[in-house]
């Protein structure tokens, strides 16, 4: 690896749910622009680690730093706005249109309607979605289309880091393959750092620049 800057560090983190220790004294450095895949058995703490990285969980011991700044309960919401979040099947809001889902993070940042429109116009060709779908609702889309919307929602606000929690696990092999290619090309075209939780080692090998087996 080149002398890349570290964007996210996990320092000696210990986390437990009630009495069950999930992570113990865990450390990890993630470089800017890398694609880190977290793999391992279910229950090994990979999803917990992801949720620690955007402050949805706060470690009992140790700390998480983003761009050198420690993640705390107080600054978690702020930090999350520079982090993208892509979940299984997209986890789209069923009561919002496709377009409203896509610009969700932009509205949180109070971006103007024109700027939102412009950004979505930019992104649509990237994920191969047609304009016609924008006014539809998530339940009118296929699983693959939903996840493409989820990807746009996760990256529209130019996040420095994108966290993905098993984003392709519920898709059929063909769709999964094309979406993997899509994410890979997005990663290559931008300088965004990706951290993905997956239970598939082949997926990790295909996409990851680094694989952390937990």
């Amino acid at each position: 690896m080149n002398n890349k800057k570290t964007v996210l560090t996990v320092n000696n983190v210990t986390f437990s749910y009630d009495d069950k220790v999930v992570l113990k004294d865990f450390s990890l450095n993630i470089d800017t622009g890398s694609f880190v895949c977290l793999t391992g058995e279910s229950g090994c703490g990979k999803s917990t680690l992801l949720r620690l990285m955007n402050g949805l969980l706060i470690p009992q011991q140790g700390d998480i730093n983003i761009n050198g700044e420690r993640l705390t309960l107080a600054n978690a919401i702020d930090k999350r706005r520079s982090i993208g979040y892509i979940l299984q099947e997209g986890a789209l809001f069923p009561h919002l249109t496709v377009y409203q889902n896509m610009i969700y993070c932009l509205t949180l940042l109070n971006m103007s309607p024109q700027a939102c429109q412009q950004r979505i116009d930019e992104l649509l060709p990237l994920v191969n979605l047609s304009h016609d779908l924008l006014q539809q609702f998530p339940d009118q889309l296929s699983g693959g289309q939903r996840q493409r919307v989820g990807i746009i929602r996760g990256i529209a606000h130019h996040p420095a880091i994108v966290l993905m929690d098993e984003p392709f696990s519920a898709l059929d092999p063909e769709t999964r393959e094309s979406l993997q290619d899509l994410v890979k090309s997005i990663h290559q075209q931008t300088d965004t750092t990706f951290v993905m939780v997956t239970h598939s080692l082949s997926e990790a090998e295909k996409l990851g620049t680094a694989i952390v087996n937990m």
Partner: protein, 512 residues
């Protein structure tokens, strides 16, 4: 009642019903949703609030109206409180469970994307809980509209008034029309909330992703509701009631009380410039009217001396009328304005034909012929120590047979010849209808229930002219003429208004 009168009577009741339920729904929706949201975020509050809301729901609504009378009196305020407390349950529960059941992965997504707690509520929790809230609202709407029917019992008005008036004066068309009106109203209310629920119409409008047709449909429905509310407001104009010169006349829920209330009201309207508010058919009678007089919610009504001694002053024996006046004045600052002349007490009645044939006029006459009579009365009459058991000590009746029956069946029984003597109230319309003879209580066994006008002293001070006006009725309504007027109401189906007009005409007070 002529057609125009009838239409305007029901329009008034409908307007009142609409306004009461609309106001109650507005309050209950705001409070219910707010409480539901509050308990979702505060588990500690939830442990107290949810059982409380459940408990409120289990109190029978009639009891709740009554329980509130000492606190807030009768009328609109009381009705609104009961409707709101009662309607809370479905909304609070559905708001809470709607929020609780928002899928976790969506909350996780919204949080993970950087929503603040307020944004999370606004963008995710509330819109996704909305269908559940609306289905709670639907239940509450139907419940509140139906329950508003009972508000008439405490003088708040509404379509229930027609039902109770019908029940109290044996007027079936009134009962049917009132009931159908409430049912129709409840169905429309349910449909209205249903339009908000259908196709997620309201959810879409809130999230700004509704089709134009959805928007137009909802705005049209809201517009119709707003127009109806506005029209009702204009029609009954509740603000006009807050006049300087106004008096509230009350009546108990029985035929003759509607008539007497109407006679007093028309007399005041005809001869003074005081405006009359009619609060007729107050449920519970004296139990609820007397406290309302003390609190100033009501100003006057017709009471009976026996009831006043026994139920108001709690005295078993009756003293004379002057002492009754004195005690009312000293204890309650209420005045008895003379007695009307009628005495509505227990009596024994037999068919007129037998009475003439056997020359029976008094109870003592009946004792001599009692072996030839089958006597019918309600269970209570035979049971109460101060009724039949004491009666036969004073008048040693030796009836051929005693028939215990439900109170409503006595007249039927004597009509069909199953009995030929019954207990009755002296002013009952059926005495007239069935041509019965009320016998004279020659040893004065039954206490007197003489009717007289009870009025607040403060009102008499404010409107001194009232005394002279109302005193014109003193001694002018005999038991027989009251019975005739009850007959006109219950059997001939004339309205209290018409009967009162005719009566006042004979007194020489025609409408101006």
């Amino acid at each position: 009642m002529n057609f125009i009168d009838r239409i305007s009577y029901f329009l008034t009741l409908f307007s009142e019903h609409l306004l009461i339920s609309f106001l109650a729904m507005l309050i209950v929706t705001v409070f219910g949703v707010a409480i539901g949201i509050w308990v979702f975020y505060k588990p500690k509050a939830r442990r107290i609030i949810m059982p409380t809301v459940n408990f409120l729901y289990t109190i029978p609504s009639i009891a709740m109206f009554g329980l509130l009378i000492p606190l807030v009196g009768i009328g609109l305020q009381n009705a609104l409180i009961v409707l709101v407390l009662y309607g809370l349950l479905p909304i609070v529960h559905n708001t809470y469970s709607g929020m609780k059941e928002v899928p976790y992965h969506l909350v996780d997504a919204a949080k993970g994307l950087g929503s603040t707690p307020q944004q999370l509520f606004r963008h995710v929790y509330f819109p996704l809980a909305l269908p559940s809230i609306l289905s709670g609202l639907r239940i509450t709407t139907v419940m509140v509209i139906a329950l508003t029917g009972l508000a008439a019992l405490i003088g708040a008005g509404g379509l229930g008034q027609a039902i109770f008036r019908g029940l109290n004066t044996m007027n079936t068309p009134l009962i049917v029309t009132g009931s159908l009106g409430i049912s129709l109203f409840a169905i429309l209310g349910d449909k209205f909330v249903g339009t908000l629920e259908k196709n997620n119409n309201l959810q879409r409008i809130i999230n700004r992703n509704a089709q134009p047709s959805q928007k137009h449909f909802i705005y049209l429905n809201l517009g119709i509701l707003a127009a109806l509310v506005l029209m009702s407001l204009v029609y009954i104009n509740p603000f006009s009631k807050i006049k300087d010169r106004v008096i509230t006349v009350a009546s108990k829920p029985m035929s003759e009380q509607y008539i007497l209330g109407e006679i007093m009201s028309q007399l005041i309207e005809n001869q003074t410039d005081i405006n009359v508010i009619r609060q007729f058919g107050i449920g519970g009678g004296t139990t609820n009217i007397h406290p309302a007089l003390l609190s100033g919610d009501l100003d006057m009504y017709v009471e009976y001396t026996g009831t006043a001694w026994m139920n108001v002053l709690n005295q078993q024996s009756q003293l004379n009328f002057e002492q009754l006046q004195q005690q009312y004045q000293d204890n309650y600052q209420l005045q008895w304005l003379g007695l009307l002349g009628m005495n509505n007490t227990y009596a024994i009645a037999i068919p007129q034909s037998i009475a003439t044939q056997k020359q029976i006029k008094t109870y003592s006459d009946l004792v001599r012929h009692s072996v030839a009579f089958d006597f019918g009365a309600e269970f209570e009459f035979f049971e109460r120590a101060d009724a039949y058991p004491s009666l036969i000590k004073v008048y040693p009746f030796n009836f051929a047979k005693l028939h215990e029956m439900d109170i409503s069946l006595r007249y039927k029984a004597i009509e069909e010849g199953k009995v030929n003597a019954i207990d009755a109230f002296t002013t009952d319309a059926q005495i007239e209808a069935l041509d019965l003879q009320v016998l004279v209580d020659d040893k004065h066994f039954f206490p007197d229930y003489e009717a007289g006008i009870v009025i607040r002293e403060a009102v008499l001070q404010q409107y001194p002219e009232l005394k002279t006006v109302l005193m014109q009725l003193e001694g002018k309504i005999s038991t027989e003429s009251m019975r005739k007027m009850n007959y006109q109401l219950e059997v001939l189906k004339e309205t209290p208004k018409e009967i009162a007009q005719a009566f006042l005409a004979t007194l020489g007070h025609k409408d101006e």
